[in-house]
Assembly symmetry: C2
Homo-oligomer: 218 residues x 2
């Protein structure tokens, strides 16, 4: 940006890198600016200089992932629907695997961090992150909902609304607990799953749940 030094990462980037890791692990309110700046090895005041407030830092952290993931996911969905035969739900959900795993190339552990941040954002913040996501990325979300609805036409829109939030809860909670669950699975069953393996386990579960026929009233 006009200076000749590149021996150390940008302060702004250092803050984002440290913040996203801590936010994903501990949650937003449990992570202080002091902890972030000490991990990032930058001055406390620099957060306010670069981002204005903690709230805006949180949004910046999320935006850095959403700006990569959303267009990539939308492209995959679109590519899937170029094909004349209707995609099934497993295929639609599976088409998100590539965009999700690409986040691991953007940053180490990016996939897990992103999904954890998403979960924290929906649960922890009293609506302001939900608002931020739906207003800034609403077009992508709508396209995804349309694709899912088209491949499960027997589910009415209101029911689909609930089921898609069920899937959000499923994936987000799973990733938030992934480390703990992996430890237990290794100890009890000798299994060693990476993020991709867990995602591939959860997709059939979600696809089956979303498309299950609605029961007649008893």
């Amino acid at each position: 940006m006009g200076h000749g030094m590149a021996s150390r990462t940008d302060t702004k980037t250092r803050i984002l890198d440290a913040a996203e890791k801590l936010f994903a692990e501990r949650g937003f309110s449990e992570t202080s600016l002091r902890l972030i700046t000490s991990k990032a090895e930058v001055n406390l005041a620099s957060v306010n200089y670069h981002f204005g407030s903690k709230k805006e830092l949180i949004r910046a952290v999320l935006a850095r992932y959403l700006d990569v993931f959303m267009p990539s996911a939308a492209a995959e969905i679109q590519r899937l629907f170029k094909n004349p035969e209707l995609a099934n739900l497993n295929e639609i959900f599976s088409s998100l695997i590539k965009p999700l795993l690409e986040l691991n190339q953007v940053r180490h552990g990016g996939t897990t961090i992103f999904l954890q941040l998403l979960g924290r954002g929906y649960i922890e913040s009293q609506g302001h992150l939900r608002w931020f996501i739906t207003t800034h990325y609403g077009q992508y979300l709508e396209a995804f909902v349309r694709a899912v609805s088209a491949s499960a036409p027997h589910i009415p829109p209101a029911e689909m609304f609930w089921r898609l939030h069920f899937t959000l809860g499923t994936i987000v909670f799973t990733m938030a607990s992934a480390d703990a669950l992996n430890e237990i699975a290794a100890a009890d069953y000798g299994e060693h799953n990476d993020t991709e393996a867990i995602i591939r386990k959860v997709i059939p579960y979600m696809a089956a749940g979303v498309s299950v026929p609605i029961l007649a009233k008893e």
Copy 2:
């Protein structure tokens, strides 16, 4: 308790009643003792006198529900398996509806509060509530896992471990977001769902996901 007055609820109970509501709505760390004691109309210092610390208050709030719910749920499961024919997954999950809704008789809105607290407990606290629950109520959890496994014998134990945690995530995230989701559903679809309606929506989703056959590797 040796005094003749009963014109007003026990201070300890007033604290628990106010705390559980605020914890469920806002989360643990977003709820200060000052807010709790002012809603409960008791003195700030009384929390420490009666519970020792905020952390112990949180456990007391959860225990008051778990002590009612867990034995009741276990009895329902046992009753279901007295019947010779094998129960299906929908029946097993549905057998939890009665114990859950009974919590509404214990306290107004008890079912929602309990499920929200459970969700907050698993997501927000860094493992110490998870530990509290599994060590104090582990026998009930194991009985439930055995019942589910028996009715889905085509799912190996390691896979069932993952799927039951998927269901935990599904229900827990849904309830933690229930108020926000209900608002959206009301605005967008004119739906007004109470807690029971949401529970009845989520059960087929979870049952389908848990029992879906494992796909052959592609």
